[in-house]
Amino acid sequence: MIRFDRVAKRYPPGIDALSALSFEMTAGDMLIVSGHSGAGKSTLIKLVAAIEKPTSGAVLVGGQNVGTLSRSALPFLRRRLGLVLQDQKLLFDRSVFENVMLPLSIIGFPPKEAMQRVRAALDKVGLAMREKALPIALSGGEQQRLAIARAVVSRPALLLADEPTAHLDAETAADVARIFHEFHRAGVTVLIATYDGHLFPDARTLRLDHGCSVA
């Protein structure tokens, strides 16, 4: 499903975020990326979603080299991903419901069925009662779960999450982890960057240190 082949990423002033990173994930895998702050976890996630392009090496997603993807092909890669970024990128002038609706509008889902799906996704993350609220009225944990609902509403085959349990109390973090486990059990390939590796005891872990994989 995902393959990194000696991938390096250098940001403009000369900061090496990742160097010669290679790893592989098969469909249905769950992989935890851990490491200190600045280790390159977010960079790894962004490379998979083609938000950043690798400086060298190849990033393959579903057999496709996403580093060389054309601008017009990009949307179709993104549609196959569920993406929860570190800064969740919620739309604060739209209701909870509309935030989760957006990915379905983008793929032109018939409105009636889309509404059912949005409700199902909100139900899954325990936000069914808050659909009319604005994101600003949600707690940090609720915003995190909203971002997850938006990522899974289109039922992607691959779910990427960057620090989905950051700033959450132990109990809420466990709740969020449980949601990811459910998706994993349902067959979704899950890639999570997190400090809270202990929340996913069964998952394989890729440990990063200054952009290099350490065993």
């Binding site: 017009s72 549609r79 957006l102 032109g108």
Partner: protein, 320 residues
């Protein structure tokens, strides 16, 4: 297990929704239109001011066009085809007149000729109270027999030759070409038309610039939404569509505003203009834009709004 299969089935199809290709088109456009309308209504004051700006910009050339059309219609109703008046000598006698009439009829360059007997002219002039007193003092009819001639070919050069020819004929006292005013008016009309075209071009550019700027501001205020949509897999078309509809709607509504302004101006000017024309013995009523012209106005306005939005998006979405 049921849940598992439900999540997986969709996961397998690449963009989740290839099953409804026809609907996608409708749903997408319906959505874009709704968003555009909502944005127009969300800032009513800005929308109103924009409409006024666009409306006035369009009303100038469109109003000019309306006036030109009216002038042309007025000219048409008073026969702009040049006529040659042939006046006979007052002592010519009816026999000479009949002879001249026959000669005109046979002339190959003459399309039509109308005889005005001097008695009729006298009667017509007597209808005017002021003139009657003067005429009554005169010992005999001061008016000659006359012919009104229209030529087959009304090119100025041909007409001038014809006038010269008629002047040589016996018992003809005076020949006059009545087309000078019509020609002057026609030249003025031509100039007016050029001015309107020029004005139209300038203000169309202005309108495009107005929507360009409005869409630029829209893009800036919707930065976050655009960025998130791109992250979620929105195509450029999906992102641009609401803005294009916004521009087109703004143009359309601006065109409608212009049409209303023109209709109001026409209504306002109709009575005083009627009175003025009546003084010059014309009966003519000012016409507002025709249905076809109004449709053209709306179409052009919509197109220009769309164009402004397109140019703006090309400029402001390129690097995001």
């Amino acid at each position: 297990m049921r849940e598992r299969s439900a999540w997986i089935t969709d996961a397998q199809s690449p963009d989740g929704c290839l099953k409804f290709p026809m609907n996608i088109w409708l749903v997408n456009h319906g959505r874009a239109l709704r968003i555009a309308l909502r944005r127009l209504i969300a800032a009513p004051l800005i929308t109103l001011l924009s409409l006024l700006a666009i409306g006035v910009a369009l009303a100038l050339p469109a109003g000019g066009q309306m006036l030109l059309n009216n002038v042309q219609r007025l000219m048409g109703s008073t026969s702009a085809t040049p006529q040659i008046s042939v006046f006979m000598a007052t002592d010519a006698g009816r026999g000479a007149a009949t002879e001249l009439g026959a000669r005109l009829k046979k002339h190959p360059a003459v399309k039509q000729q109308r005889f005005l007997p001097r008695e009729d002219t006298l009667q017509r002039m007597k209808a005017n109270a002021g003139l009657r007193e003067v005429i009554d003092v005169l010992p005999n009819n001061p008016f000659p027999d006359a012919f009104i001639v229209t030529a087959i070919d009304d090119q100025p050069a041909t007409l001038d030759l014809l006038v010269e020819e008629f002047r040589q004929w016996p018992k003809v006292a005076h020949v006059q070409l009545d087309s000078a005013w019509a020609r002057r008016l026609e030249a003025l009309l031509r100039l007016g038309r050029n001015v309107v075209t020029l004005l139209g071009g300038l203000l169309a550019t202005g309108l495009t610039a107005i929507t360009f700027n409005i869409i630029r501001m829209q893009v800036l205020t919707h930065r976050a939404e655009i960025e998130v949509s791109q992250l979620l897999g929105a195509t450029n078309g999906f992102i641009c569509r609401p803005f294009l509809y916004f521009g087109a709607l703004l143009g359309f509504a601006g065109g409608a505003t212009a049409w209303l302004l023109i209709a109001a101006a026409a209504w306002w000017l109709r009575t005083p203009l009627d009175e003025l024309l009546h003084l010059y013995e014309f009966t003519y009523s000012l016409q507002s834009l025709s249905l076809a012209d109004a449709a053209l106005l709306l179409g052009i306005a919509t197109g220009l709004g769309w164009l402004g939005a397109l140019l703006s998006l090309g400029q402001h979405l390129r690097h995001s």
